[in-house]
Symmetry: C2
Subunit: 433 residues, 2 copies
């Protein structure tokens, strides 16, 4: 559809359903072709995309300036404007991430498992793309490129529905991505962006565009994810909150406990893998509590604690019930004593969000129990919860971190964007009565 035609549609509100239906049909057709594309062709597309983005810096930055001006006019806060802003460094980052994805192993066509039945049938389980992925996200324009190309490399068509704040920047980036597909002889409709940002378009996507969307990935705040989960009639890889815990066991090494807890909270307090609550084994509070609290305070962290934690330092504020349920995403931590690993597991079961939780201990048995019994996507031993990240896992990139229990759990990388089919080979083999 030409941009002029799209613009015309934008003026006709009632046509949004038809516009979305058409995008769904195009996505499905593109997905069918892309599913059989070679790795070579997909990598060539990535090269062309990177070159196109590099060549379009002026246009991208000009579009981004429009977005920023509009966001300022809307009174968006500074942190929001910062996430929205592009500059040459950030464009370099987008190009670099295309290069990283280029180097990742293409999961499509790989044989997961293969066996032979007594009747001679040979059965292979082979990776195939999911089909059409719908991504509904908020402001950051780099999501446009990252999500688009991760879906493409894994053989999926994608429909991107970004927030209105980044629409000009995203439009320029998507032009480059589609150009790259075209230059590589791949269907450009494998990456489409919804040209309007009203709720109707997202609502149509959540209803699945008549079977033309296979999964929805929401990326954004709580209210966006909640709406998607409530309204979606297709499967969702939801990323709910990351209410992560670090539990410091009686057998913890105090230096590791201090170092890891401070890193888990303070390296970047605003990411979903940041620790929000530190639990300390009451049996070793004398040895462990004070050093950890002091180090956190020294690092500029606000500490909210139970009475034992408050007793350590006058700067510790009292924690309320609400604190155990709060994902601060800020330099604030809640802390309390628990009754050993069992107490930690119970606290995490009650308040956690099944995202990422860590234990600090030198006791291998206690660690094993924690890793087994804490039912979170990621469980860690003597490591910072800030490692909850597809890049850090070696996935190259991620489209989000799933906190659900179906299909994808934890970082969603290329492999989680695929499913499998069974290929069964016989020789005129029939099934006996």
């Amino acid at each position: 559809m030409s941009e002029a035609a799209t613009a015309q549609r934008e003026t006709q509100g009632g046509d949004i359903a038809e516009l979305m239906a058409e995008m769904g049909r195009r996505a499905r057709a593109a997905a069918t072709l892309l599913a059989d594309a070679t790795t070579q062709a997909k990598n060539a597309a990535l090269d062309h995309m990177a070159a196109a983005i590099d060549a379009a810096r002026t246009e991208i930055l000009a579009a981004n300036e429009k977005d920023i001006a509009a966001a300022k006019a809307r009174g968006r806060p500074d942190a929001f404007i910062d996430r929205l802003a592009l500059n040459d460094d950030r464009i370099d980052g987008i190009i670099a991430s295309l290069g990283v994805i280029r180097e990742l192993t293409d999961p499509v066509g790989s044989v997961i498992d293969e066996w032979q039945r007594p009747n001679g049938l040979r059965i292979a389980r082979v990776r195939v793309p999911l089909g059409v992925v719908g991504i509904i996200y908020e402001a950051r324009p780099n999501v446009t490129a990252d999500a688009g190309v991760l879906c493409m490399k894994s053989g999926n068509a994608v429909i991107l529905r970004g927030g209105s704040d980044s629409i000009e920047s995203s439009r320029e980036l998507v032009k480059c991505l589609r150009g790259g597909l075209r230059q590589a002889g791949l269907p450009e409709d494998a990456i489409q962006m919804v040209p309007v940002t009203d709720r109707t378009a997202a609502g149509e996507m959540l209803r699945g565009l008549s079977g033309n969307i296979d999964v929805i990935v929401p990326r954004g705040g709580k209210s966006l994810v909640a709406r998607v989960q409530e309204e979606a009639r297709v499967p969702v890889f939801a990323h709910l909150e990351g209410l992560c815990h670090t539990y410091i066991d009686r057998d913890a090494d105090v230096d590791k406990a201090v170092k890891v807890t401070v890193n888990a909270k303070m390296r970047r307090p605003g990411i979903c893998g940041a620790t929000e609550t530190a639990l300390v084994d009451a049996a070793a509070a004398d040895r462990l509590l004070k050093p950890v609290v002091e180090a956190l305070l020294h690092a500029g962290c606000e500490v909210r604690g139970d009475q034992a934690v408050q007793a350590v330092d006058a700067r510790v504020k009292p924690a309320t019930e609400e604190d155990w349920r709060t994902e601060y995403l800020a330099p604030i931590i809640s802390m309390k004593l628990v009754d050993g690993v069992q107490g930690a597991i119970e606290h995490i079961r009650r308040y956690g969000s099944q995202h990422t939780d860590a234990i600090i201990t030198e006791n291998a048995e206690t660690a094993q129990r924690f890793l087994k019994e804490v039912d979170s996507a990621i469980v860690m031993h003597n490591a910072s919860t800030q490692f909850a990240d597809g890049g850090e896992f070696g996935f190259g990139a991620e489209i989000g971190i799933a906190t659900g229990r179906i299909h994808a759990r934890g970082p969603v990388g290329l492999e989680q964007l695929t499913i499998f089919k069974y290929q069964v080979r016989g020789d005129g083999t029939t099934r006996p009565a």
Copy 2:
């Protein structure tokens, strides 16, 4: 909850929501315990269950007689009554299937993948149960036992909501299953049956019981599955129809074509893996069409065909557009000529249900193309579509065949009833800024 209390609740319609909420809480608590149960304990439970069913034959058959009398009074057709009926042989079959599931490898705790990062972090992807599975099914009482124990062996709690027609038989079977769990020291609430069969109870399950159901598996006819997909607010492993195709290529061996096609349709015309449409390559119709049509007619199959197929034998009836879209589940087949493998792929793309489709050919290249490009859960070469079955795949048993694209695709066995978690091990490892 005692049976008396349950019965009392049944008289109080408004309490069904509370009854279901309580079942959800009990299921979650049981799932938490069962997730950490040893294979030995789970196998002991299976032994106790089998012994209990064997010892309760009289009670089970008496309960089944009540179900059958009620079903006859409701005017259910004979085939329906046959599926509902239990006898000593069928009870033997249920006991045997417990033995099969006992021998299956427990997937829980197995390491799917393991790697080390340059910073020393060791990451393992380990199988864990899904959590709580809700099964909504129709008449067959053996589903009660099969589904219940498959979920149990894979570490999941299950809430069974069967049809009203089998409620007495299912109640007796569930008593045996729960007794087996208790005797093995496992939580009996790992297998619960909804004691009422009105729509409210199923509706509550579809809304997820406040996060206490992780996935719903519908087993039944189209209208049940459609309702589940429309109303569910939790993930669904849906089994839609099996509109399976067998394509006979120009390079097919005629004997294999005849043998496989007749088996694919006629071995058991009523199962979801039965072929509903045979496509014949127009380029070799002279050689292949007549033998296949005659063999099908000879086997007692009604053939509905396009003009070319009608020309073969006067008994062939004309096929209409509707025939290509129909899952007969009966000794009827639709047949037409297509323009080679490309024509077959296009027909299947248009009319298929992504369940199971087969090609008959001696040409390896053509076979490979079909296996790659036909986007179905199961694609077969020179084999009968009737092999679409978890048992035939070596899964021992299945809870259904999923036609969706998320998490489970094809036969849903023990492994598909699990998900994974990441266990990350460091040594005081922190993430650099």
